[in-house]
Amino acid sequence: MSGINRSLQTIAALVENRAGVLARVSDLFARRGYNIHSLTVAPTPDPAFSRITIVVNVDSAPLEQVVKQLFKLVNVVEIEELIHEAAYERELLIAVVNVATNKPELMSLITNLNGNVLTDSDSQLAFSVEANPSQINQLEKQLEGFDIISQQRSGRIAAPKIGVTVPKTTAKA
């Protein structure tokens, strides 16, 4: 697959769901000069914890250092390193596009990626696509020729593939 950027690596941190934890994480990255490419956060099924998925640019610091420094935060319980080969990686893109003449072209881009049409009015199309990050990158390129009203991506989340054990730093006994 083209478009895989080896400089970007994903880590998923299980953190205590407490006030200020996200600030602690982002402060740490800023102060140590680690570049965040994307960051997503949401509570886990156990509301005492959240998961923060960070795509970090490892040209700015070795992944090992990033993980170790992050793990030093008292509220960080566990960190998984999710390299491309080991993980399912997904991102969501939502866009609203003016479609005058090129609606069929846009529809084929959406259906190619099993996207969803959210609203289909005569002159505008709203849709979402969920795919792996390099497909989303490619889609963004393809959308450049369209008259975009708004376009957003969610940032990456990831999970280890079935049968794959990923490196894990954990405070769990």
């Binding site: 953190v15 205590e16 006030a19 200020g20 600030a23 602690r24 402060d27 740490l28 102060r31 070795p62 090992e64 250092q65 170790k68 420094q69 793990f71 030093k72 935060l73 008292v74 509220n75 960080v76 319980v77 566990e78 405070a171 769990k172 006994a173």
Partner: protein, 584 residues
């Protein structure tokens, strides 16, 4: 006002703060009151905990550090919100960089006022996030015991550090019914993300032993972690067992006795030639609780180029942060060294012969000892001489603190430390003004020990007001003011690297009048400008035990600290004392 007593089960938040500190075994709080923390100062009257009222909150922080350095127990300081919290920031940063166990309690504006730019509101947890090991904003009175218990646990376990607890006024206000709860004190800790314990990994120990046995030119590069782990005893055992030379960093002076034949002294920018060079030529560097600070390594790529590295540290993030080790061991230095020694002893293992290595080292020691030249008749004093004279006239277990600058380096170089926890200084942050409050904290912890602060004239002017605290609270520390009329360390750089263009570094000898100033603060004070008066005045100072003493030692401005490695330069290029330069 509440009518409840602290002994009753129902308790208010302010009482809970004090009672929690009692539960943690706190003996001394260094603090300063003000609006937001006022409620907590009320039950303070009824506690056996001693409170030392400082003259500036930075002083409270450094005193707590001095207390912690001297005892290994967490130092505690307590201040109000806003400007008081920002005043204590320097001390928190200092404690963070030097891994000093400390708990700092700050008042905060009432909960409903947070975020409104209320009077004396600052975002204390935000400001201190990157300079504390952890911090808390308490939002419920009944969380106070749990959070204070956690704060002490975090501050003192693993790699120690400062923990701040920010407490809004409303939840300690005695007249707030929501700030009352049934007293409890947790006996467990529930911190799912915090596990500072490391088990000894036998395989790693075996590998370390193997590397140690093979090495022909080993050096133990000992840092502050050895002191934090209280591992001086086993360090001595290991060094003697393996005939391994030891260097002690600025944070580890005293961890290994300077008078021991295996001791090479301090490495780094102003370390001695032999310590620096032994590291450069070593084939095995055993980094023990040290962190490859840039003041030690100089140019990293040129640091110890022939050495394999075994790095033992309780903080795994130190492994490979600066230098990739051949073997990284995460653990407490005491546990790890004990395991290494046990393995060597039980195997009756034999080390490689280090005779040639020791001979080479002895050669450097003979050629490049730490030296200075005595001043000429009629000249002011040499700081090195003053420091040597104090050292020689004090008990061996005297605690020495230092400010930051030339005098700090001379103190580290020319005081011979034979006991752990006798040297207290600001290494990581390099905080001018550290020595006087740190000395007061140490003396408050250990009133029977003699405590000397070696201070600079620049440093003195930053925190001297704490001598009032010392006088009033009867904490008789002694201050050797190395008065060279300059911000000497900066002057040295300007002399060497800025063509002797002295920009904004001159203070002068006479203003302030240090003797009068000190006397006005309740101290005994002397001025010494002749070699012949040095010893007798020190003896006089040592005989005074009812108040602090300050000696204004008039020292030469031109004296420089040698050896020196230029910042960022390779450690192969040591600039030695001019009298040794030709031989180089």
């Amino acid at each position: 006002m509440t009518t409840e007593k602290i002994s009753e089960k129902r308790i208010n938040g302010a009482q809970a703060v004090i009672k929690s500190l009692e539960m943690e075994g706190v003996e001394v709080i260094f603090g300063y009151p003000g609006g937001a923390i006022l409620p907590v100062y009320d039950p303070l009257i009824d506690t056996p905990i001693r409170h030392i009222l400082v003259r500036h909150e930075q002083g409270a922080g450094h005193m707590a550090e001095g207390y912690a350095h001297a005892t290994g127990k967490p130092g505690v300081c307590m201040v109000t919100s806003g400007p008081a919290a920002t005043n204590v920031v320097t001390a928190l940063a200092d404690a963070y960089l030097d891994s000093v166990p400390m708990v700092c309690i700050t008042g905060q504006v009432a909960l409903p006022n947070i975020g409104t730019d209320a009077f004396q509101e600052v975002d204390t947890t935000g400001i201190t996030r990157s300079i504390t090991k952890h911090n808390y904003l308490v939002t419920k009175a009944e969380d106070i015991p749990r959070i204070i218990h956690e704060a002490f646990h975090i501050a003192t376990t693993g790699r120690p550090g400062p923990v701040l607890v920010d407490i809004p006024k409303s939840i300690v206000a005695a007249n707030n019914p929501d700030a009352h709860f049934d007293w409890y004190y947790p006996d467990t800790i529930d911190l799912p993300g915090y596990n500072p314990e490391f088990e000894i990994n036998v395989e790693q120990i075996n590998q370390a032993v193997e590397m140690l046995l093979e090495a022909e030119r080993p050096v133990l590069y000992v840092g502050g972690g050895v002191l934090k782990a209280r591992a001086a005893e086993v360090l001595l055992e290991l060094a003697e067992l393996g005939d391994i030379p030891v260097v002690t960093t600025l944070m580890a002076r005293g961890a290994f006795p300077d008078s021991h034949e295996l001791c090479l002294g301090m490495p780094g920018m102003h370390g001695n030639y032999t310590a620096i060079t032994a590291i450069q030529k070593s084939d095995l560097l055993i980094a023990m609780g040290s962190r490859f600070d840039d003041r030690v390594t100089g140019k990293v790529d040129a640091f110890a180029p022939e050495a394999k590295v075994v790095h033992v540290d309780i903080d795994p993030a130190e492994h490979g942060k600066i230098r990739a080790p051949e073997l990284a061991i995460a653990g407490d230095c005491n546990d790890v060294m004990k395991a290494i020694v046990a393995k060597i002893v039980s195997d009756s293992a034999k080390f490689a012969d280090h005779t040639a290595w020791r001979d080479t080292i002895r050669g450097w020691q003979e050629r490049y000892p730490l030296v200075y030249e005595q001043s000429e008749e009629g000249e002011y004093l040499k700081p090195q001489f003053v420091i040597e004279q104090i050292a020689q006239s004090c008990p061996a277990d005297t605690i020495v603190t230092a400010g930051v600058g030339q005098h700090q380096m001379w103190a580290s170089q020319f005081w011979k430390f034979d006991h752990p926890y006798t040297w207290i200084n600001s290494g990581g942050l390099g905080t001018m003004g550290f020595s006087i409050p740190a000395a007061i904290g140490a003396k408050a912890a250990m009133p029977d020990r003699m405590v000397w602060a070696i201070d600079g004239d620049g440093c003195f002017q930053m925190t001297a007001q704490e001598l009032i605290t010392a006088a009033v609270d009867k904490i008789p520390v002694k201050v050797a003011l190395i008065n060279n009329a300059y911000l000497g360390m900066v002057r040295q750089w300007q002399e060497l690297f800025y063509d002797e263009r002295y920009s904004e570094v001159h203070f002068g000898y006479d203003v302030p009048d240090y003797v009068k100033w000190s006397e006005s603060m309740g101290c005994a004070a002397f001025k010494v400008d002749k070699i012949d008066d040095v010893r007798s005045t020190i003896d006089k100072a040592n005989a005074i035990n009812d108040r602090p003493v300050v000696i204004d030692f008039r020292c030469l401005s031109s004296e420089k600290v040698y050896p020196m490695v230029v910042a960022g330069g390779p450690n192969d290029d040591v600039i030695v004392h001019p009298s040794q330069a030709e031989e180089n």
